[in-house]
Amino acid sequence: MNISKEEVAKVAHLARLDLSEQEVEAITGQLDRILGYVAKLNEIDTTDVTPTTHALAVHNAFRDDVVHPSLPRQEALANGPRQNGEAFVVPRVI
């Protein structure tokens, strides 16, 4: 067993997903099989291999510190599921 139901439930919480018992059961079985397949990576000795996170050399992109027009507030808020004309409204935190 590569992954347990408890681990899937814990990871789902970290990922902010609310899964039903059935979903946890199904995903556990599928991930177990996928992780079993992924284990084939261990066939390769990578001791001295540098990891590649990007296929091309990527550098920080620094722009000149110049003011550009930003999105008008109403346009920024337009897709907000709940807003008060000035800000997005969310449920309480505490």
Binding site: L17, K40, I44, A78, N79, P91
Partner: protein, 485 residues
């Protein structure tokens, strides 16, 4: 004359000779959509009113003698690319009502070129899939055979081009999502070098792998589209500042002096005999055209899928954290605590495949597992990059199948995610290495389904791909072959 069935360059000629207008062409495409869309299901949203307006403006521009090759051409766009004022869903319920307040850079470039945006095409949710069966708004049919998949995740774009529901389209490719549906639908699809085309405004799935590219009816159109969308963009920190050549100029050069590499690992177990035969037939044509052929090895190919299914979900788990119901997208209105709202909104909004990959990625990045999974996969990625470096010291272009089999029946693999993932084994390595890859039709199966041939080249060597593909296309009798709808 069926205007909807023409290519970009054919339509442009008609515009230039004033034999038709962008307005007529656009209307012809909408008529075609009305006629066949019920059977194909390639679109999520249509843009009729604005498209007709754009066509009218393009006509005026052409009248002034100012229109380039894309002016007035009706195009469709994969629904993962932001279009200002036009709904962009990424094939997901979570973005069902999202209307971007800005255009992706590629859309700005197309609009500046005078193109007409017909609508947004069906796709696997957040570009996660190999069959286009994970779209929250329905499964499009393969125009060649309705009960077969059209491939994913840019399946709607490939189907729309094959069914003449647009003249050409834009897709995105993270692990083969342009090349694979292009192969299954019998059209040309190109994943450019990572950084060649701006990703600004592309809803991110796996940022180090995603790339926007064209799906077209022939290779010349592919070059025209690439000319229009390539180039540096200051809004995308991964965009590469390098001059853009004229890709059309490369088409007419012959193949003398070009070496085609045949990667032996791409012709192994599991390859459908009909696919193998078609690819070998195409190789013979390339030889006839003057290309040299060399046997090469990419020894880490078989590890590509395993590395990809750690790296891509890891990046996806981070990228998709932004869909929290606060600023856009679906929100569960019942929850009265913030964390509950996040969880309920995301659980209602995302489909099964997206949830699976988010959990997979979160797991791979979580404490205690990072080295075993993400670091290991990133190291294997290095070995794959090195394999390509060695191969391209021996040849100019690698030729192989795009997929191990032709399209399969809708539903046939959807119960088994791993078997679906393995269908990307031949396309994924190019994304891990950031090199360009192209799919060009090379045959038909006995069942009447298209078979594609993949060409890969070194970083920024798209010209070689287009040159080889164009020469092959001229020698095969497949251009203009259409599905019966």
């Amino acid at each position: 004359m069926d205007l909807h069935a023409l290519t970009i360059h054919e339509l442009h000629q008609l515009f230039t000779r004033k034999e038709t207008s962008p307005l007529h062409a656009t209307q012809a495409v909408f008529d075609r959509i009305e006629q066949v869309e019920g059977r194909v299901g390639a679109y999520i949203s249509l843009n009729r009113e604005k498209a007709l307006q754009q066509a009218d403006e393009a006509g005026k521009r052409l009248d002034r003698g100012q229109g380039g090759p894309l002016c007035g051409i009706p195009l469709s766009i994969k629904d993962v690319i932001c279009t200002k004022g036009l709904r962009t869903t990424a094939g997901s319920k979570i973005l069902e009502t999202f209307i971007p307040p800005y255009n992706a850079t590629v859309i700005n470039k197309l609009e500046e070129a005078g193109a007409v945006i017909i609508g947004k095409t069906s796709m696997d949710e957040f570009a996660m899939g190999s069959a286009n069966e994970n779209c929250a708004f329905g499964v499009p049919a393969n125009p060649w055979k309705a009960d077969f998949i059209c491939g994913g995740s840019s399946g709607g774009s490939a189907a729309a081009v094959a069914a003449d529901e647009c003249i050409a389209s834009l897709g995105s490719d993270t692990g083969g999502s342009i090349r694979q549906p292009a192969s299954h639908c019998g059209v040309v699809g190109l994943k450019p070098t990572y950084g060649r085309v701006s990703r600004f405004g592309l809803l991110a799935y796996a940022s180090s792998l995603d790339q926007i590219g064209p799906l077209t009816k022939d290779v010349r159109d592919c070059a025209l589209m690439l000319n229009a969308i390539s180039g540096y963009d200051g809004s995308d920190s991964t965009s590469v500042n390098r001059p853009v050549p004229d890709y059309c100029a490369a088409l007419t050069d012959g193949l003398r002096g070009m070496t085609i590499g045949i990667p032996r690992e791409y012709f192994g177990e599991g390859l459908d005999p009909e696919v193998e035969k078609s690819v070998h037939g195409a190789l013979a044509k390339l030889r006839e055209a003057g290309a040299e052929v060399a046997d090469v090895s990419l020894p880490h190919t078989e590890y590509g899928v395993a590395a990809y299914y750690i790296i891509a979900p890891a990046e996806a788990s981070s990228n998709l954290a932004r869909y929290d119901g606060v600023r856009y997208g679906l929100r569960d209105m019942e929850a009265d605590l913030l964390i509950e709202m996040y969880k309920k909104s995301r659980s209602r909004g995302f489909g099964d495949e997206v949830k699976r990959r988010i959990i997979m990625g979160t797991y791979a990045l979580s404490s205690g597992y990072y080295d075993a999974y993400y670091k290991k996969a990133s190291q294997v990625r290095t070995l794959i990059v090195e394999d390509y470096g060695k191969a391209f010291s021996l040849c100019d272009v690698l030729v192989s199948p795009v997929t191990p089999t032709p399209a399969w029946k809708i539903g046939e693999k959807s119960h088994d995610p791993l078997s679906m993932y393995l269908s990307d084994v031949l396309t994924i390595p190019a994304n891990l290495a950031g090199i360009p890859g192209l799919s060009v039709p090379c045959g038909m199966s006995r069942a009447g389904l298209p078979i594609g041939l993949q060409m890969q080249a070194a970083h920024f060597a798209e010209e070689k791909l287009l040159r080889a593909a164009y020469n092959l296309e001229q020698r095969l009798d497949l251009v203009g072959k259409k599905p019966t709808l």
